[in-house]
Structure formats: structure tokens, C-alpha cells
Amino acid sequence: MSTNPPTPEPQALIDAETARIQAEADKALADGGQEELHPRRDYPPYRSSILRHPKRPLVAAREAFTELRGPVFGVTDVTELDSDLTRQHHGEPLGERIVVTGRVLDRDGRPVRGQLVEVWQANASGRYAHKRDQHPAPLDPNFTGTGRCLTDDEGRYTFTSIKPGPYPWRNHLNAWRPAHIHFSLFGTAFTQRLVTQMYFPGDPLFPYDPIFNSITDERARQRLIAGYDHDLSSPEWSLGYRWDIVLDGPSATWMEEGR
């Protein structure tokens, strides 16, 4: 069940659609429109989005009590080794060792403490340890590519991993994803839930990727790109990347709602 037509479409066609949507978005912003903070759910250059986005407007709802709270995770939900993706097997994975760290904040800048952060990624060759990934790049027996941790009292998370490789996909002919790490985050309210992807600075694939460009505001796109931080790099060991995350959702907490 693919939404792709049988003949793969050329990159140039995707590029033209991307440029047209970008120009419209730029104009809307210049005309005083609101900054689009999230990707468009309806973003035709990403072909899989065509049949998978609601066409009716979302219904405005007040978070009732349930949505203002959220699931709780604790020490039983993570183990010490879960945040080090390079130590989950007997041997060392191949690739560029990296440390990715940052803070998870709410929109008021307050740290999101003790919440679950989950990550998954391809290996250094751009292959996921997932049966359905048929990219003919080697699997690494010493790398699974999944991790999790709880944020600390300052909202900080830290993962040790391998820099993931870019990988091909079948959105169109010669489609390649920029290197990325998938992130899943929880806040204190269920409406702060976020699943996103962290990218690496200077990736040459950014202009060609419809998933990255589904965020039509340049400033918003930049928020998904980690910064290289030399002070975070360790001599003869690893390169450091820093990426802070701000969770959308209510700034009012359940307590502040007067209950």
C-alpha cells in the first residue's frame, strides 16, 4: 500500500514543489502572517503525508484535567546503560563516537525534570536495525541504535552514540534523508508530547529533504539542528553536540488551574 506512483518521480519535481510552497510561506509571513512553528501536516512533497493528514480543521478544546497531566516514568523504566548506545553489545560499534546533550525546557524556560527521553537512529552506514529497513548498507552487530534516559533536575539529557549516516528512501528517485537522530519526549502535561528529529550542522542534504522542509519557517527549521560544541568534545574519544528542546503545550500547570 504505497502512495507513490509506480515510476519514481525526479528530485527536480520535488524541488519545484518545495520551492513553490516555500515562496508562498515566505510571502504569507512577509504579509504579516504568523510564524509557522511546526511542520505542515499537509505537505505534498512528502508523499506519505497526502493521505495521512486530517482535512478538517482541528477542533479547539480546552485541556481538561486529563490532558494537563501525563504519564510518569521512574528509575524502573530506564537502566544505567540505556543512555550509552555504544555499550549495548560486546564490541565497539563502528563510526564517529558522539555525545549529544541538552536541556528540555517548557515554553516559559523552566526545566522539564525527571521526564523520559527516548532516541533511535541508523548506524554509521545509514542502516536501521529494523527488519523492514532494506537499505543495502551493512548492519553493525555492535550497534542497535535505541536509547532512553530521564532528564535530571536541570532538565538535562545526555546520550553517547555514533553519528548516524544519511540513508536513501523511496519518496522519489534519489531521495536521501539527512543524518538525524529521532527523539521522543514527554512533559508534565500529555499535550507537551513531542516526537521529532535532531539534525547535524551543515548537512548538504537539507535542501533536498521534504521532511525537513515541511517546516516552512527557516528559523523553526534551524531549531532542529544541533550545534557542534568543541568544549563538549573529549580528547581522543568523542565529538560533542548540544541541542536544547522546548516542549510546546500549556504553560499553565494543573496546579495553577486552581485545583
Binding site: Y43, R52, F65, T66, V72, H130, S214
Partner: protein, 188 residues
């Protein structure tokens, strides 16, 4: 206010990272008051979506929203998921759809989170092709007086109410698009 970090699709390969043992079993088999909630996630062509991920969050039977930890207990020896303790009610479930787009959750009927509130189960929908998750709610009965339900016309309202089936089972299909499109919510 800081601008939020934008969302991106969960993609096709979350399956070895996010689902966990007993993710859809909020209560153990044979638990008194257990109900089964299940359904299919459909796309705009009416085709089932085999790579959607659903998360559920709800009050306990007394309406409590304190959510115990331990949804995804880890075995410190093997490093694998150990399943839930069987004692604590975490209120959180996570289920991937199967090859036929079908999902199943075993839980209990939530209590009212405030006096007089109509209970519901909050749902967050992720999928390949969906660039930003969607929220909806499952109401196990069509409660009058609920501000959201009462704001909808009958057709739309019906998309949020699970259909009772025999043996304490409820059916709740999710249509991302199309004539039966589910009501999705925007908060704030």
C-alpha cells in the same frame, strides 16, 4: 515565551525503539473490571495504516491522574523490557498497529477526573507520513454535559464515542482523513 522545537514524523522505523512489552496492557489478564478497547487506524483512501503508533493516557477508576511510574520496566540484568509490575496502574499505554492496521488496549474504565466530568481516554496518534502527532479522545459512553462533545454535531461527535461490543469490549476506529475523519483536537 520560547518558540517550541518543531515536530517531525515518527517515520517507519520506530518499531524497535518505542513499543515495549505489555505496552497495551494497562491491567493484567483477568483483572476485575478490565475492558478491551480496540480498532483500526485508516488513511484517507480507507486503507488500514500498518505503521501507526498510538499512545493512551487516562485516569484510574477513581479519577486519579497521578500515574505511577513503571509502564516500561527494564530488566537491569538482560537490558530488555520486563513488563509491568501487575500492581501499579500507570495510566499510560503505547501500542503499534499490526499489519492490518489494528491495535488493542486492555485497561479499565477511567473515573471522572473532576466531580461531574465525563471520563475519557486521551489518545496521541503518530504515524509515518504524519508530520505532527494528533490528539483525540475516546469516550466510552456518550456523556451529555461534556463541553467538547456538546460542541460537535452528531456525525462528528460519534467519531469520539467507542462502540460497545460483547464481553466488555469497545471498538474505536481512527480515520486520519475522509468522510469519517476522526475529530482531532487542538489545545490552548
Amino acid at each position: 515565551m520560547r518558540p517550541p522545537t518543531p515536530s517531525q514524523t515518527v517515520g517507519p522505523f520506530y518499531g524497535y525503539a518505542l513499543p515495549f512489552t505489555e505496552g497495551g496492557e494497562l491491567v493484567p489478564p483477568g483483572h476485575p473490571g478490565a475492558i478491551t478497547l480496540h480498532g483500526v487506524v485508516y488513511d484517507g483512501a480507507g486503507q488500514p495504516i500498518p505503521d501507526a503508533l498510538l499512545e493512551f493516557w487516562q485516569a484510574d477508576p477513581d479519577g486519579g491522574l497521578d500515574g505511577a511510574p513503571g509502564s516500561m520496566r527494564r530488566d537491569p540484568v538482560t537490558g530488555t523490557f520486563a513488563g509491568r509490575s501487575g500492581v501499579d496502574f500507570t495510566g499510560f499505554g503505547r501500542v503499534a498497529t499490526d499489519a492490518a492496521g489494528h491495535w488493542t488496549l486492555r485497561t479499565v474504565v477511567p473515573g471522572p477526573a473532576a466531580p461531574g466530568a465525563v471520563p475519557y481516554i486521551s489518545v496521541c496518534v503518530f504515524a509515518r507520513g504524519l508530520l505532527h502527532h494528533l490528539y483525540t479522545r475516546v469516550y466510552l459512553e456518550d456523556g451529555a454535559g461534556d463541553p467538547l462533545l456538546d460542541s460537535l454535531d452528531a456525525d462528528r461527535r460519534a467519531t469520539l464515542v467507542a462502540r460497545p461490543e460483547p464481553h466488555a469490549t469497545y471498538r474505536f476506529d481512527i480515520h486520519l482523513q475522509g468522510s469519517e475523519e476522526t475529530v482531532f483536537l487542538e489545545f490552548g
